[in-house]
Structures are given as structure tokens and as C-alpha cells.
Subunit: 354 residues, 3 copies
């Protein structure tokens, strides 16, 4: 009797505890590194940096079963700079001048409420734009560190770098898995009044992504457009694919960033090569065609990630961006000032998730 | 034996886990909506907004039993804007110019340490002023969204909107439940030095609230005053009552906002009407008498809240503010520019707590 | 059978729950008080303040066993002002102008990833400088409240008060306990490019601390230097010791703050005197020799801390700083304007940890 009641008491207390635990999950990741960059004409920099392998973050999330196959969920996630403890900013308007945070912590990485069922997921708040995901999934270095192809990731001019990753004031819909098909659509608002006239649609975003994954094969295409009268509308388009041969996972990615009449086009090929149970070599080569908007350039990156455990890994990356002519030059975090010059760097770091 | 020891181990581990869980509770709420407002002379706005039904927040709280009936507790709670992930600001001085946060997350909703016993609760830090609570409890839409009577809630001029909800640097006392009586008193400091002269008392707040609740009946009166030499002292006064007839919960509220010589007076009647197990219709009508300080106006609101679960609900609100003459006009979030014009809006949203 | 399966289910669910609980620990402390300070020539101030006994904070931390005696860990901890809910700032560069946060919450108290083993701990991110710890450990009032010897803690000029407590962009190494010896070393970066010329090393920090603790006796010496061409390099040096006689724990501390050619030297003696099981009297007397850089001064502090529980205590402090001549005067939070004047204060407060 006593045994049973103890077990029952334990089970019921546990249920209460588990219920609470399920209500909010705290999660996060810290990525810290030592970074050296040398850029032609502009000397070098040595620093303690972050996010070479994955983006540092802290978040709170949870789900609730509403019955009948329907679930509600929330997700609050913010960026932080672990080298100094400051937080990442967000944008309230998807437009220049909408930045908020000033180094205080915000939930600018993701802030959403969701309703999901067998028919897909409806998501409202601040979230990734559809055109971001291929840059992350079909690039060996994702969008982090000196290994990521910054000219693929960033629009020109720099003033347009607002909605190339995320949009605020958004409504998104995610398809359920249909065979191998997946996809999402987003609409976001600049939240301007009609009296803003020509600018009343500034910051409005529309986007879509469609993909297909079957066994070792994965392919997806995406695009999104952000309206802006002053800068010119910003459009991001890309197609990526990967095939996992086992001894190597090959990746290819094509992408465009268009701001008004300024267009840059990037092609990337790369690979993940597993080394034993815990190692992974990463290779990426990408070229930029910028048509007078900026330099043509290419980017070569080589890296190794060594997993210490489920939650911890160390990494080392080497990369080089070579600019080809006299326009706006690309670099690895320290400006290139010699025409046609290059930027070379390496970083060693640790990432730890929780 | 094995069964017993397993059960015992489970129970003791559980106790440890539960103890930890009790030390800090994470809680919060996200409320996101689609809002449309049309204001005479000033066009319209469509946006993704928040807090139409309840205020979005994230917090940490806990209590500790000190023995002998005495408890200590802490409460840290901050506002956030889930449509973009930015945080809400706070005021460090209860005076103009004391705003802190800049869009980074703060604990500006509540930041307190408490000692409580059978004799009541002593609370120190940043907390709600006594005059806020009736506006929230005796108004069908609380102080959220287009359904709330903004002219009841907000003092004129807008520069005085600092301590109408909360005060920093405060000491509060809450009565224990005495029969049906309840109440609280607050004193807060502007934290100025004596050398500030005439302004040395600016930001000092005093307030009191007393109420009585018995069965279906509830009534309370409250007032608080914030000293300010430049704006004129700000005083908030209100009396609210409700009676729950079962088929309808009726509410009435009278309130004044006085800043120096500028006084506005509001009267509100409203109701909650339950619809089945999970629905609630909300109705509110309020009138503003502003005596040359601002427009006279009235505000009509109709809403429906549908509960999906203990933690999740959807809602839809319609509201209209009609301004009566030529002074400062009130609106639903988009300024009215035609003299005597009105502001009309609707919002659909979801709120999810955790 | 049923009993066993229940117990097993409980144990396994529990393991999952405990695993999650161990991944992230939330912790914090709130310290709130009433403070009165009177300063010669400058009147007085009465306020609700904070951090009289210990620093208010909120944090998230955890560790992961990597096997083979190696552990990974993370620590995110930020300051907050519980009287108003605002957050503490951080510095991104260890230099003037690097402040980030603007009152939003940051993880400026500590933001680190660690690898530790029997050979010590490697720690990367934002952390305390080695020279800080003796000021905290060998002073009866630590570095908090009016009881702390501010002229020991703070460099002159005030513009140099950036890295006297913490440094960003740092790599630290902590010795394992070797007999009674303990110690740490830190190197931090200002993260400037080489093109910054003479200022390229600004914000670079190097520091070391070594101590020995055996039974009731503890002694440690530390120093750190922050490079800055404009202000002059900043150096912090100190030696502290304590001996616990049981009826009294005696402390002595010597410290220097040097900014360029400006040097201040402080000597402190003090004691903790236990009173029963739950009380502690605190006494401290310190003198400042500022050699024309600022006033010579002395500081007397008397306090009592009464523990209500493991997590909660109340305290009362009295202190007086007496300035000796005509230079920059020190005070308890309200400036002294009469040459050679004094600043006197008392504070009553509560601290509550979780």
C-alpha cells in the first residue's frame, strides 16, 4: 500500500512538475571565438567575437494542446553578443529608422504566437522571411562567421539590410509535410497610415518558399519583396539544393539581392564532409556578379567543426574574399580599401547550447 | 524492496525538482492582432498590433516561506511588443525625462520584493498605482485595445502620462482580506535631491484604494497624486462597481484625470455577457466631459472573446470614439484631424498565456 | 507489476524533467532600500534605492558533463534596478563610448562560456577583472551600498570607470585549488583595428590574481591594467587578507587606482562580528591618500545584517565620508560642495535571492 501511494504521489507530483516544465522551455546558445582578419590597404584586427558557427541567442517557448489536433504555441527568442553581454536590436517597422533596443536585450530573433494542426501552421509576429532559409540550409557555413558568403546574404546598399533575415508585424503560413513537399508564405506590414502617401506601403513584405525533400535529396526556392519608395523595393530570390552521398553532402545555391535597380547575383557550391563520429569538414566557394553595383568578388571558405557532446562543439574556419575591381568591396568584417584587394581571416571558437 | 526504493528515489528527486521549480516561476502572455482604424480627416491604418485583449508580458516570480506565517516574494515582469520583439520602457524618476529602455526589455511592468503575513503585504519597488486598478477591473475591456476607454485611462496633456499606471521607487501596503474589504496604499519617491528646490518633490506619489466585495457585488474607490511643479500636480480619482447577475455582469465606473488646472471626467457603463461555456460578449459606453481642456467625446465598444483553452483565446472588437467639438480630439490609435470627427476601428486577435 | 511500472514511469519522467531542470538554472537577487544622504553644502536626498547589501541581478546558467573529467558551462547574468525595473548597461569595447543597453536589460554582469577540468577553467566572454575580487572579498561591505569604500572602488577620473569591475572580449584562466592556493589570469581585447594607430591597443586588458586560503586565514593580491592612450593607462592593484577568529572576522585591504599619472591609494580595516545565529555586525574604516588628484578622505561605516532565511535578509547601514581638503570630493551618492566637507548617510533595506 505504502509503495503504491508513494508511487502514485510521485507520479502526480511529477505530472504537476512536468506540466509546469512543459509550459515554458528556456533555450539558448552561446558562440564565442577569436577572430583575425587582414584586409588589403586597411591593416588587420584581432578580436574576441561571436557567432562564427551558430548565432548566440536566449529564448523562451512552449506549446499547448487545444484538443482536436489543434495546438497553440509561443516563441520568444533574442540575439545576444556573449563577448560583452549586450543584446541584439530589432526593427519595429521593417523600414530605416525602425531600429529598437540600443544594446538592451530584445526578442528580435523571433517573437510569435502560432496555431497549428494537420493543415499547417499559422504564425503571427516577428519571424524569418521565406527568402532567408535557403541561405542558411544550402550553405555549408550557414549565414554565420567568416565562412558564410556575406555578399549572398547582404543586399547592397547597406541601408537595405532590414528585412533580408526577418520581418516584424507578419502573418505566416507553413504547409504541413505533404509527401516530400514543404513550404511557407509570409505577409508583413510596415504599419504606416494611409496618409503616408507614396510611403504608406513602405515596409510591407510578401514572400513565399517551396521545397521538396526525399531521402538524401533536398531542393527549395524562395523569394520575398519589401516595399520602399526611397531605397527602391528590395527583393531576395534564391534556389538551393543538397544531396547527401554519405561520404559527402554536396550543396549548391543561387541567389539574387535586388534593391531598386541595384542587383547582385551569387552562385555557391560547397560540401560537408563527415570525419569520424564527431568531426565535419566544411568547404564553400562562391562568386559574386555585381554589375557595377559593387565589386565582382569571390569567396573561399574552409572549416572544421569538432563535436564534444550533444550540446558543445569547437570550430576553426579560414576564409578569403577576393574583390575583382573598383566598386564597393566586400570583406570579412574589416573593410578592404585597396581597389581589387582581398580580405583574409581565420577564427577559432566554441559554441555551447542549452 | 526495489519497488520501494525506486518510488522513494523518485519522490525525493521529485522533491528536489519541485523545490527548484518553486523558487522561480516563468510566466507571460502574448497578444497579437490585426487592427484597422479609420479617423475623420486622417485616412486609415491597417497593421499588425498587440495587446488588444490583455497586455503582452514576460516575467519571473517566486515566494519563500520564512516561517511563522511570514512570506517573502519577488516579482519581475516586463512588457514586450510581440509583433516586433521589442521591450517596453520604464520610468526611473516618475517624471518627464526619466524614461529608460529604448526598446530593450525592462521589468517596467512590475519589479518588487514583498513581505506578507496575516497582517497584509508590504511591497517595495516599481508597481501599479492604486488609481489604476478600478480602470482595469470595472471596465469591460480593461485598459487594453480599442475597446478600452482611452480618455478615461489617459491624462491630458500627454506629457503627464507617466504615473497613471505605475510608479517607480515605491513602497506599498496591501490590506489582508477583512471580511469583504480590501485596499492598498502607496508612497513613491521622485528621488530628487533637496537642492532641486521647487522641483525637489517632483515625482513623489501618494495614493490609496479601498474596496468591498461580497458575493456578486464589488465596489472600490481610489485616488493617487503625483507632484510636478512644471506640469502641475497630476491626480487620478475613480470609483467603480460591478454586479454579477449571472446572465450578465454589469459594470459602472466614474473617473477623473486632473493635471494642474486641466480636468477631464469620464463616466462608463458596460457589461460582460457569457455565451455558453467559452464565449463572452463585451459592451461598453463611456462619455468624456473635458471642459475646454479637450473635446467632449463618447466611446462605444462591442467585443467578443472566445476561449479556446485555459491559456488561449481569440477575440474581435469594434469601437468608435465620437468627438463633440474643436479641442484636442481622442482617437483609437490614429489621430482625428477633422473638428468634431470620429475614429472607428476593429481588431481581431489571439492571446496566449504561459 | 502496476506499482513497479508506475514507479518506473515516475522515475523516467522524472529523469527527463530533472535533465531539463539541470540544463538551465534561473537565479537572481533583488536588493531594495530606503536611503538618506546628507552632503555638506549640497543638502540631502531621500530615495528608494537598491543594492545596499548585494547587487540586484537576474541570470541563467548551466553546466554539461563532457566526459573524461571535462565540463562545459555557460553563465548569463545581468544587472537590474529593482526600484524601477530598468537594466544595467555593459561596455562593448572596454573604452569610453562603448556603453550599450540604454536602460534595457543586458547580460553585462557576466556572459561567459567555460571549459573546466582538474587543470582549471578556461572562460571566454565578459567577466570580472582579477583586481575586482579583493575589493569584494576583503571589505566588510563588499562593493555595495554606502558601507563600501567608494574611493577604493572607483578610479579617478570618473571617465576611467569602465574596466575597474569587468571587461568584455576576455579570455580568462582560473587555477584549480592547489593546496590552499587559488588564482586567475585574464586577457581582454578592445577589439580595435590596427589602423586605429596609437589607439589600436585601447581597451586591451591584462590582469592576474593569486591567493592562499588555509583554515581561518585568507590572503590575495591582484592587479590589472587597461590600455588607453587618451585617459592614460588604468591600473588597479590591491592586496587583501582576512582572519576568522570565530567571534570576529578581521579584514585588511590595501589598494591603488592609477589612471595615467593620477594615483589614489586606500587602506581599509574592518570586521564581521556574528550576533547569534542570524545576525552580523559590519565595521569598516578606510583612508584615502590622493596626492593632489582628489581630496584626501576617510570613510567610516557601521552596519547590521539580519538573516530571515536562507534567501532573505534585512539590513541597516550608517556611513560617513570626510573629505580633508579642496580637490575632487568623495561622497555617498550626493555630491559634497563645501571644501573639506563630509557626506553622511544611512540606508535600510531588504535583499531577496532566488
Amino acid at each position: 500500500m505504502k509503495k503504491t501511494s508513494l508511487a502514485l504521489a510521485a507520479a502526480s507530483l511529477l505530472a504537476a512538475s512536468a506540466a509546469q516544465a512543459q509550459s515554458v522551455e528556456i533555450f539558448g546558445l552561446l558562440d564565442l571565438n577569436y577572430l583575425h582578419v587582414n584586409s588589403d590597404g586597411n591593416g588587420s584586427i584581432n578580436k574576441i567575437g561571436s557567432d562564427g558557427n551558430l548565432s548566440s541567442r536566449l529564448g523562451f517557448r512552449g506549446t499547448e494542446d487545444l484538443g482536436g489536433g489543434l495546438k497553440a504555441g509561443f516563441w520568444l527568442e533574442g540575439a545576444l553578443n556573449p563577448q560583452d553581454g549586450s543584446g541584439g536590436t530589432t526593427s519595429t517597422t521593417n523600414q530605416p529608422g525602425g531600429s529598437a533596443g540600443s544594446g538592451g536585450f530584445t526578442f528580435g530573433r523571433r517573437s510569435t504566437v502560432s496555431l497549428s494542426s494537420q493543415y499547417g501552421e499559422l504564425r503571427v509576429g516577428r519571424d524569418y522571411v521565406p527568402g532567408f532559409w535557403n541561405l542558411s540550409h544550402f550553405s555549408p557555413f550557414g549565414t554565420n562567421g567568416i565562412g558564410s558568403s556575406s555578399f549572398l546574404f547582404y543586399p547592397v546598399p547597406s541601408g537595405a539590410r532590414i528585412t533580408h533575415v526577418r520581418a516584424s508585424n507578419s502573418v505566416g503560413y507553413f504547409l504541413p509535410k505533404l509527401g516530400g513537399f514543404y513550404g511557407q508564405a509570409m505577409m508583413a506590414f510596415g504599419n504606416n497610415p494611409s496618409t503616408a502617401g507614396a510611403k504608406s506601403d513602405d515596409g510591407n513584405v510578401t514572400g513565399i518558399r517551396l521545397g521538396y525533400e526525399q531521402g538524401p535529396f533536398n531542393i527549395a526556392a524562395a523569394t520575398n519583396r519589401t516595399q520602399n519608395v526611397t531605397l527602391g523595393n528590395y527583393t531576395q530570390r534564391n534556389i538551393g539544393a543538397s544531396y547527401n552521398f554519405g561520404v559527402v553532402k554536396a550543396m549548391a545555391l543561387w541567389g539574387e539581392n535586388i534593391t531598386g535597380v541595384q542587383k547582385t547575383t551569387t552562385k555557391l557550391i560547397g560540401a560537408h564532409v563527415p570525419v569520424g563520429q564527431t568531426g565535419q569538414v566544411r568547404l564553400a566557394y562562391s562568386t559574386l556578379s555585381a554589375k557595377g553595383v559593387a565589386n565582382d568578388a569571390n569567396h573561399l571558405a574552409l572549416g572544421y567543426v569538432h563535436t564534444l557532446s550533444k550540446r558543445t562543439a569547437v570550430y576553426g574556419h579560414y576564409a578569403r574574399i577576393s574583390n575583382k575591381n573598383n566598386g564597393t568591396a566586400f570583406d570579412l568584417g574589416l573593410g578592404v580599401t585597396r581597389p581589387g584587394g582581398s580580405s583574409t581571416g581565420y577564427e577559432f571558437g566554441i559554441r555551447h547550447s542549452f
